[in-house]
Every structure is written in structure tokens, then in C-alpha cells.
């Protein structure tokens, strides 16, 4: 397997995320990621897709799109949403910094972005052309990239 790309489209409903998690788990097995790293990738993708559903969609029909690219070096996943009611209000460096600053283990929410940052080798969050957010997560296939 050299360069390959898989695209998935799904409704903006967390009901479908279990299937996405199972799919990425199987794919990562074929790419020979360690079991621990597969769990990390599944969790990061769960968090990214949950954000896309809860914050980047106005209805189930909004839909989210996954672009999964792989080569000998890395697995790259881009999750694209179409934007929620306040996407561009919150997607500013100041607001993102505030979300991180407010994060506390005793809080019920606000941990998703922090987890994604912990679990990915590279993580990028950008406004896209359709008014939503593109989240890019890269996982290197080097076994030494296991996070402790």
C-alpha cells in the first residue's frame, strides 16, 4: 500500500460514530499501528467527529465528511463540517485559548480539544470555505510515536 485515500460522508448524528470508530480501528490494524495507538486514534476521531456533530452542524442533514489519507509515513484524517450557528464566533485563537484556559478536570465539558491535542502527532483546526471547520489530525506510523 503506497498512497491511498478513502472518503466517508455521514449524517450529523453521533449514532453513526460507533461505526466510524470500528472502521478506523480495522484500517489502523491493517496499517500495523499498535493496539494502544489504535485506541488513541479511535478516541481522537471520536472527539473530532463529536465536535463536528455538536458544534459544526445545524441539523442531522448537515452531514460531516471524512477524508482519510495514508502513505508509508502517516495516516492523515480530515474531518470537515459545514458549520453550526456560531462556528466563526468560536473559531478564533482567542476563544480557543480561552476554552483551554478554562479546562479543569472537575468540569463536565471542554476536554475534547485537549484530548485531540494529546492524542495526535499533528493537529490543525481551520475555517473552511463552506462556513464550517476542517480538523486535520496526523498520526505517524513510526512505532516510536506512541504517546506515554
Amino acid at each position: 500500500m503506497e498512497n491511498a485515500c478513502i472518503e466517508l460522508k455521514l449524517p450529523s448524528d453521533v449514532y453513526y460514530l460507533e461505526s466510524v470508530r470500528a472502521f478506523i480501528g480495522k484500517l489502523c490494524e491493517t496499517l500495523k499501528f499498535s493496539k494502544k495507538r489504535i485506541a488513541d486514534i479511535q478516541l481522537a476521531l471520536d472527539e473530532i467527529c463529536s465536535n463536528a456533530v455538536f458544534h459544526g452542524s445545524t441539523s442531522i442533514s448537515s452531514g460531516i465528511q471524512l477524508q482519510i489519507s495514508m502513505d508509508t509515513r502517516a495516516l492523515e484524517i480530515v474531518v470537515r463540517d459545514k458549520g453550526g450557528a456560531n462556528t466563526h464566533d468560536w473559531l478564533t485563537p482567542e476563544n480557543l485559548a480561552e476554552i483551554q484556559a478554562k479546562r479543569s478536570p472537575a468540569r463536565e465539558s471542554g476536554h475534547g480539544l485537549y484530548l485531540i491535542e494529546c492524542l495526535t502527532d499533528v493537529y490543525k483546526l481551520e475555517a473552511n470555505a463552506v462556513g464550517g471547520t476542517d480538523v486535520t489530525a496526523i498520526f505517524y506510523r513510526d512505532v516510536n510515536s506512541d504517546i506515554g
Binding site: R21, L43, A106
Partner: protein, 114 residues
């Protein structure tokens, strides 16, 4: 596999034990919240959640457990977790929630901790 049928409750003396038999992503987290909030309404205040059949948990589900633990403590009780796989413990540790919710190796030790 989701739905409240995969989250069942039983009792050991005055402790309610919840057996979770589904992975806890955002969808299943709402089912877990319903079960736990029902226990709060029934004035149950000692709860153990058994994770022996869970292989995945996300931040929404962790947040749900943190929130319910705080409410149970306000009522003089607590929420304790047991039988977590290493990957689940790691998620709690990364978030820092293991400093908020007590985690035990076995159901017996979780019950004994009340």
C-alpha cells in the same frame, strides 16, 4: 451496540452497581446519563459503575460521570468506578478526571471504599 438495555443496575446492600455493556461514546453517554439521573431521582447516593465490558470512553462520557459524582457527593454519597481497561484509565488520566472520580481495580474494593 447502544441503548439503556446495555446499561443495567443491580444492588449490593445499599450500593447500586451499574454494569455497562457498551462502549461509551457520545451516543451511549446520554443513555448512561439517563440511568444515573434516574438513580439520583430515586435518592440513591452510593453508586459503583463496573466497566469490565467497556473498551472505549470519550470525554462526553467522562464528563457525565464527573458531573454525577459531584451531585452524589452533594447528597452525601459518591460515585466510584471499577474494572477499567488500561486505555480507559489513560483517558481519565489525560483529562485529569481520575483526581475527581475514584477508580478501583475491582468491584469488591469499590464497594468496600464506601
Amino acid at each position: 451496540m447502544t441503548g439503556t438495555e446495555f446499561i443495567t443496575t443491580r444492588e449490593s446492600a445499599d450500593v447500586k452497581i451499574i454494569d455497562v455493556k457498551t462502549d461509551l461514546s457520545s451516543y451511549a453517554a446520554s443513555d448512561l446519563r439517563k440511568v444515573l439521573e434516574n438513580l439520583l431521582m430515586e435518592k440513591v447516593n452510593k453508586v459503583v459503575v463496573n466497566f469490565s465490558e467497556v473498551s472505549h470512553i470519550n470525554s462526553t462520557a467522562v464528563g457525565t460521570l464527573v458531573g454525577i459524582a459531584k451531585r452524589l457527593r452533594q447528597n452525601g454519597g459518591d460515585l466510584k468506578l471499577c474494572n477499567l481497561a488500561a486505555t480507559l484509565t489513560r483517558t481519565f488520566n489525560l483529562i485529569g478526571a481520575s483526581s475527581v472520580v475514584e477508580i478501583y481495580e475491582s468491584e469488591k474494593s469499590a464497594i468496600a471504599a464506601f
